[in-house]
Symmetry: none
Subunit: 142 residues, 4 copies
Amino acid sequence: MKEEKVSRFSVSVPGKLLKELDAMIKQKGYSNRSQAIADMIKDHLVEHNEKLGKKEIAGTITLVYDHHKSHIQATLTDTQHEYHDCIISTVHVHLDHDNCLEVLIVKGMADVIRKIADELIACKGIKHGKLTVTTTGKDIPS
Amino acid sequence: MKEEKVSRFSVSVPGKLLKELDAMIKQKGYSNRSQAIADMIKDHLVEHNEKLGKKEIAGTITLVYDHHKSHIQATLTDTQHEYHDCIISTVHVHLDHDNCLEVLIVKGMADVIRKIADELIACKGIKHGKLTVTTTGKDIPS
Amino acid sequence: MKEEKVSRFSVSVPGKLLKELDAMIKQKGYSNRSQAIADMIKDHLVEHNEKLGKKEIAGTITLVYDHHKSHIQATLTDTQHEYHDCIISTVHVHLDHDNCLEVLIVKGMADVIRKIADELIACKGIKHGKLTVTTTGKDIPS
Amino acid sequence: MKEEKVSRFSVSVPGKLLKELDAMIKQKGYSNRSQAIADMIKDHLVEHNEKLGKKEIAGTITLVYDHHKSHIQATLTDTQHEYHDCIISTVHVHLDHDNCLEVLIVKGMADVIRKIADELIACKGIKHGKLTVTTTGKDIPS
């Protein structure tokens, strides 16, 4: 079994901040500070990599809309098929008689993913849209 | 101005993660690790303290992990079944031989959803996890 | 043995489909189209007459279609929202520039599920549709 | 707009069968016999192509199991990752505290898909499993 090398370093933060950190860690159910800090670092790495553009990312695009709005479905589908290489699959949940929650699962170059998200979220009739970026897992140790 | 008390603590993270952290810190222009870590903590506190409370939301919980990590799947599934009333469905994408992308589509009271997300993201072995909150569409006109 | 009355009727299908039908008939060793079509009808009657009735089932409805076909998406979505209580979620895969694979995950009374499937599969423009019935797991020991 | 060529042919079937066909067509909501017969032909073509093996198909593999059964999840995931090139995504629905409905959306050569399905359905602990075959849409007119 491959043993992963662990690095140790020390951090200085305002006392009040450390207290608040410890309270949050406890509420979130982490067993120690290192694991919580590691998760924060990963979260910021993911976001940072997305901003750099030329890196492969995975993620989701979440859209809420009323499917009765004229043309919205045709527009969303046309856009999605244009980029079908980056869209692994789309889950559609019928929230109620009118409202749809659509979650696209995407993988591709960060700048292309951002472009798809911008295009979809800007569609007339979208109530709320959001791009959530994560890692493809290759560049982040667990 | 009152001098604020500084607390010092040490953190252990995988060596590879520390290397990537240092590269990001340099690119972002921080003068030292402590300042960068402090900013990350503040960022997460802001998100954590956002009042979600007793409101029905829809959303997604995105998780990336290596399915070979011991017990991670059993742990994730057990937690999800505990809250099966709030989890509409979970999409699992096999990114490569090791890495999994799991997207839970959730609907329920905001504080419960937050709790589920916290519990899942804190699981040992999760490379990256994120809660994305959106509307159920009822309270937002399109 | 009583001689059975034979009825004759004419059918119009896309030319390409007829060509593929004839190739399949030949491979299967049928001596004429009527015999092959009669067997298909019997096959579908058996499936249709299967008593599903008042029992809770889980299952999937699989649909393949060209999203460019006029109104098909609006029709499918309207039907799905009518029955949103029985449709847990719908996964949409963009197979290529034109073709969509849509998988509805359903749970409900067998006769209602059958009705939803029939309605969706009969939509003009559906290339292929199929209801797959499975158990909710409650009545089957593992 | 491309006009698709329509072919007309006549069919002779036992009178009783035609009557039953017409009753089924009406119950299923088809607007005419030709559309219903076309759908039956497509259904049989899809099945026939699957049996031929060396043809690209799309489809779903539906599995119901109790996630508490020892090792079942690890086994299912390991098998799925082995074939991750053919599995577009897997939707997992938490039916209740114990039972899981897992739907794999697959695309690939018919014989490989069949092999994956056989391997998964044979796993100890699966309550019910089913391969549903459909078209990739390329070879079937709408």
